[in-house]
């Protein structure tokens, strides 16, 4: 199975004018629907909805509290390596960029893990560039075994893999994966990824599905908003999530809403996604898929992150460093090695205090590992 043929069908029916066809009445109907249809989702994403954001917000807020409570799960990324063989024009890890390249040894991974665990976080997202010869599956497997000593939940945001490779990592203790399609526009994708293994659009598009089949507990997808037409990318992200939820009901599906951020390199985004646009997408997604997880990263600034909390957010990163080795060694030169610049540099304690002051409980641990090796003898 693959989302690809379904996506092509949707994409063909999506000339730009289509979003402009919806009226306020269509949007109102969509807001009041118990179960929103694809057509409703489009209406909620359309320009006509921009005057009804407050109505959407009330429903989004109610649905979020109903299904998730006043809680937000926290995690932080750990950059294991920034070595990369790809030429993505918008990314700081682009192999032609002159930045200091490194990868952590297992001892360093352990030290980073210990430093992060000391902040109270229990859910870790590990990241690498795409360099299978150096930071391939063997390396990720070894790192996971080290990090499981500190974290009940370890997720990956790395290169696209085969189903068997995902299954190997699940057996090693990985329980979640994040894969950004970047843009669902296949032609634009080719332009943005001129060389390197990531150029294979279809292999990347089907990666979340392979991860579901391999037994990942949480699969998180997203488009990098700003690379292409944000409405189109947002719509296809939502439809991709709906496809995965329908076909893999045993997997928790989540969606990230990252916007383009400044990075090392001179490429500028094609479109600017405003705060208003971002909020509309967030709420439309919540109304379309009331049970989907929604992740907001530190690409967004503190004030914005707090303001959008009630509108659908269920997961947040905190205490973030995008530099390799940036947690145990604060002098590791984030400005030179990071993948992008963050906007919310608050510590874990500061993020927790802010959540609590708004009546939300930060959740550190939301999974008990069930690996056979851990269960033995109990």
């Amino acid at each position: 199975m693959s989302f690809y043929p379904l996506m092509e069908t949707y994409a063909e029916g999506l000339p730009d004018a289509r979003f402009d066809d919806f009226t306020e009445q269509d949007v109102r109907r969509a807001i009041n629907r118990t179960t929103a249809t694809v057509e409703d989702f489009m209406a909620l994403m359309s320009p006509a909805a921009s005057s009804l954001l407050e109505e959407m917000a009330r429903k989004a807020s109610r649905l979020t509290v109903q299904h998730f409570g006043r809680t937000v799960s926290l995690f932080t990324p750990l950059y294991l390596a920034n070595i990369c063989t790809n030429h993505c024009v918008y990314c700081g890890f682009n192999c032609t960029n002159r930045i200091h390249r490194s990868m952590l040894s297992l001892e360093e991974v352990d030290a980073e893990g210990a430093a992060i665990a000391a902040t109270g976080l229990r859910n870790l997202l590990i990241l690498t560039g795409d360099a299978p010869a150096k930071t391939g599956v063997d390396y990720l497997e070894a790192c996971t075994r080290v990090l499981n000593r500190h974290f009940p939940s370890v997720s990956i945001e790395v290169f696209a893999m085969t189903e068997e490779e995902y299954a190997r990592l699940v057996r090693a203790g990985v329980d979640g994966m994040t894969m950004f399609q970047e843009t669902y526009d296949e032609k634009l994708y080719a332009v943005l990824h001129p060389k390197g293994p990531k150029r294979d659009y279809r292999f990347r598009l089907d990666a979340p599905e392979r991860a579901c089949r391999a037994g990942m507990r949480v699969v998180n997808i997203g488009a990098l908003l700003g690379l292409g037409d944000w409405r189109r990318d947002a719509l296809l992200t939502g439809l991709h999530a709906a496809y995965l939820m329908h076909n893999y009901p045993e997997t928790d599906i989540a969606v990230s809403l990252p916007r383009m951020r400044p990075h090392v390199g001179d490429w500028e985004p094609a479109t600017i996604v405003s705060d208003r646009d971002m909020v509309q997408f967030l709420m439309a997604l919540r109304l379309f898929l009331p049970r989907v997880g929604i992740t907001i990263s530190t690409r967004e600034n503190a004030e914005f992150r707090e303001n959008i909390l009630p509108l659908g957010v269920t997961r947040m990163s905190a205490g973030v460093s995008t530099a390799v080795g940036g947690h145990a060694d604060e002098t590791s030169g984030e400005e030179n090695t990071g993948q992008f610049d963050i906007s919310d540099a608050r510590s874990v304690d500061e993020v927790c205090a802010a959540l609590r002051s708004r009546g939300y409980q930060p959740v550190f641990k939301d999974w008990e590992p069930l690996f056979e090796t851990r269960g033995e003898g109990i």
Binding site: V65, G69, R70, P249, E250, F364, K365, D366
Partner: protein, 259 residues
């Protein structure tokens, strides 16, 4: 009413309202919720328990007198539920376990077959097993045979606050199953909890409706009162308990005997 108690797993309970620990904006409110509701049994998702955490562990907020009911939330099959239950016991959470086996994250409906399988294994290991299931007579009967201590049918899907949608099926379970029936999931308002108790349910479990209320403590108190009111209404005998087809023949009654 003073002696209206019931028993599960050898423990005598006076409150017929079970509460939960999920979805609160601040776990610090849990002790007040327990007190206001009068509840004696509280569920906790083992996947959220973090005994290694120096602060903020949900277990720190559960009053000592409460009967802990760890649940297997997150389990996708019987084997995972069994492993979670064993972990819970090893972590000192006691022998009670609420079986939740859900492999459908869209609707969160329980898998009856896997639930029965997990119940049988855990009951044989000495657990007091309270399985969460669809309101299905055959699954409930299989749970009795498997050694369950109670049966917990859903009123509506988890977290929906839609009320007692399975009313007729729950009524059948109340009539036919000789184990405590605890209506779990879906109850969104005190009046719905009251209705379940009026029907003859032994208890109800309410989490979302309390935890996501604007004032969880006040809502907990309201649920506690509603459950007592429903129970009193049931005990006062509003009508016949059984609703089987009536064999009498009104048109031939004049003959002086059953036709």
């Amino acid at each position: 009413m003073s002696k209206d108690t019931f028993e599960i797993g050898g423990r005598t309970l006076t409150s017929r309202l079970f509460t939960g620990t999920g979805k609160y904006g601040d776990d610090g409110v849990i002790p007040e919720v327990c007190e206001a509701s009068g509840s004696e049994v509280i569920t906790v998702a083992l996947r959220r328990v973090d005994l290694e955490s120096a602060t903020g562990n949900v277990m720190d907020f559960i009053p000592e007198h409460m009967q802990l009911l760890p649940n297997t939330s997150g389990a996708r099959d019987a084997d995972e539920a069994v492993r979670i239950a064993r972990l819970a016991r090893a972590m000192g959470c006691g022998d009670w376990i609420k079986i939740e086996v859900i492999s459908d994250n869209r609707y969160l409906l329980p898998d009856g077959y896997e639930t029965v399988r997990a119940t049988e294994i855990l009951a044989n290991e000495g657990f007091t097993v309270l399985p969460y299931v669809n309101a299905d007579l055959y699954v409930a009967k299989a749970l009795v045979d498997a050694g369950a201590a109670a049966v917990m049918p859903l009123g509506a899907p988890i977290g929906t606050n839609r009320g007692l949608k399975t009313r007729e099926m729950v009524r059948i379970l109340i009539e036919e199953i000789d184990l405590p029936i605890v209506v779990d999931a879906g109850i969104g308002r005190p009046s719905e909890a009251c209705e379940a108790m009026e029907m003859g349910a032994d208890a109800v479990l309410v989490n979302t409706a309390i935890a996501t209320a604007s004032d969880p403590v006040m809502m907990a108190r309201a649920f506690g009162r509603a459950v007592r009111a429903g129970r009193e209404a049931y005990l006062s005998g509003p009508g016949a308990k059984r609703v089987l087809a009536d064999a009498s023949s009104p048109l031939t009654g004049f003959l002086g005997g059953a036709a």
